[in-house]
Symmetry: C2
Subunit: 301 residues, 2 copies
């Protein structure tokens, strides 16, 4: 992968990179198109990264549609696809490294490797302190350590000029941007808007698991954001009040369980007291067993 990417860059071609976990939808394709428009060569990756899933999360049943993903990427003219196996991204020990093995990674996050009794070793972790404990990071301990680490590894394999991420994962965007700045990474982070279904549902690979009734209930996430946007647009500046309004919208939908509803600075993910413009309104909620997220940026200035 590295030599293919370097060949392109050394030939003076700008290299764009779209990292994904596969199960591609229009949101991903919008990233590919943004990369296509800005870069001579577009590369994508498909890797369901075990280290960003918690022990009780949906790693095993995360949707996978590799053949279809390849077709979609080919149709968009993606030149290079990187789809490593888990064992390529997290190689096993060379024998000498026995006691350094990450039991945690082996036993729960990589069941396929643990079963084969070969164990991956990953001693090195990239952590973005502070940010990683907010929003989704608070609900999913260790999630952003896994995200930052795998994105650093992917960046080192691909060495892109620019990488494209979706605003859908707003906390991830903040974590990655901060990591790039803090580690002097030579990559430009481009963030593309959320792509929604006609009825407003934010596109997500996990939507595939919603039945018709859950699908309908899931719309409440977007409705709660629109309500806050509307009130802020009408002049409400008190974040505490806006949060109450947003949470009430969610509470009005039976069998949707709120995880968080926050109004924060989009860079630091810290709560703000007053709306001054540009704040991130972010919501996470369980619809059935499926955890969905959505967000909106308030008009700035």
């Amino acid at each position: 992968m590295r030599s293919a990417c370097r060949a392109a860059r050394y030939a003076g071609k700008r290299l764009g990179f779209v990292p994904t976990m596969g199960a591609l939808h229009e949101g991903h394709l919008s990233l590919v198109r943004a990369a296509r428009a800005a870069c001579a060569i577009v590369t994508a990756s498909i890797f369901v990264n075990p280290t960003q899933f918690g022990p009780n999360e949906d790693l095993a049943k995360y949707p996978r549609s590799f053949e279809r993903d390849c077709e979609l990427l080919e149709r968009e003219g993606v030149e290079l696809l990187f789809a490593p196996a888990v064992g390529e991204m997290y190689p096993t020990a060379d024998g000498s490294a026995g006691p350094m093995q990450d039991q945690n990674l082996a036993d729960r996050a990589c069941p396929e490797l643990a079963e084969g009794s070969v164990r991956p070793t990953q001693n090195t972790w990239v952590t973005v302190e502070g940010l990683s404990d907010r929003l989704d990071g608070r609900s999913r301990p260790g999630h952003f350590r896994g995200v930052a680490t795998v994105v650093a590894k992917l960046f080192h394999a691909v060495e892109p000029d620019a990488a494209f991420f979706g605003q859908k994962d707003a906390a991830q965007v903040a974590v990655i941007r901060r990591m790039v700045r803090d580690l002097n990474l030579a990559v430009k982070i481009v963030v593309c808007p959320i792509v929604r279904e006609a009825d407003g549902l934010a596109m997500s690979s996990r939507n595939a698991y919603l039945d018709a009734e859950q699908r309908r209930r899931a719309l409440v996430l977007h409705r709660s954001l629109l309500r806050v946007q509307e009130l802020a647009g009408a002049g409400e500046r008190d974040v505490a009040k806006l949060r109450v309004e947003g949470r009430e919208v969610i509470a009005g939908e039976s069998s949707v369980r709120l995880d968080y509803f926050e109004i924060v600075d989009p860079d630091t993910l810290e709560p703000v007291a007053d709306v001054a413009g540009g704040e991130l309104v972010a919501v996470a909620a369980f619809v059935g067993t499926m955890r969905l997220i959505d967000n909106i940026l308030l008009a700035s200035g």
Copy 2:
């Protein structure tokens, strides 16, 4: 720095990098010469990295000799020198990031910045678990987090093909090698042998602070290693016995206080039970207030 380095690499020239904290001695210059022999362009950095010093360590009085260092590097034909200010490597917050500031970093590791009431922010840390808690990492908590993080940052600024480190810092070598492997970093790590004074003292920037009497006592570190090497060479395979012998040599020198004397696997830094060949014998001891380290690799096979 990045564009100068890229210009070289894009012209097809192999780029060698020697990261240092300045106060250069023959050990550093041996790294420069190794880089010179292997690479078309040689770049060095001088940066006394505050984040790898503990609160009670010698950051403030770490030796600095920038003008002389520049002369030495120029004489060796180094093409590019990177000597960033602390505030360049650890930029201050942009205002929005107030509560994310690393109080620790600001208040003790960067007194010059804390005094000016501007505070650096560094939320992202690279940690190499396991290895970082052994040998010097056990004696200096947080040290290798600072080392791994700054080396990652320097690598991202320079993007070298190869980087040159001294075997003197054997634990650092293990940490950096592991980081490079775990994070897919595209740099070859080259390790050069310890350079010693005529009487065997391992060269160190900190030797400058030893008075004549301490200088003489400091030779005990090397003597303890030679003793173990001699016994192992004569067939002693029992690591527990070898450790006792090494420690006794140190104990025989008054006013030298042992920190550690260990015989370990050089890659994992884990203790070994028997000498099979290739083990790292490493010692750290205080001579006066100065902490010195030294090591030797046993003959392999």
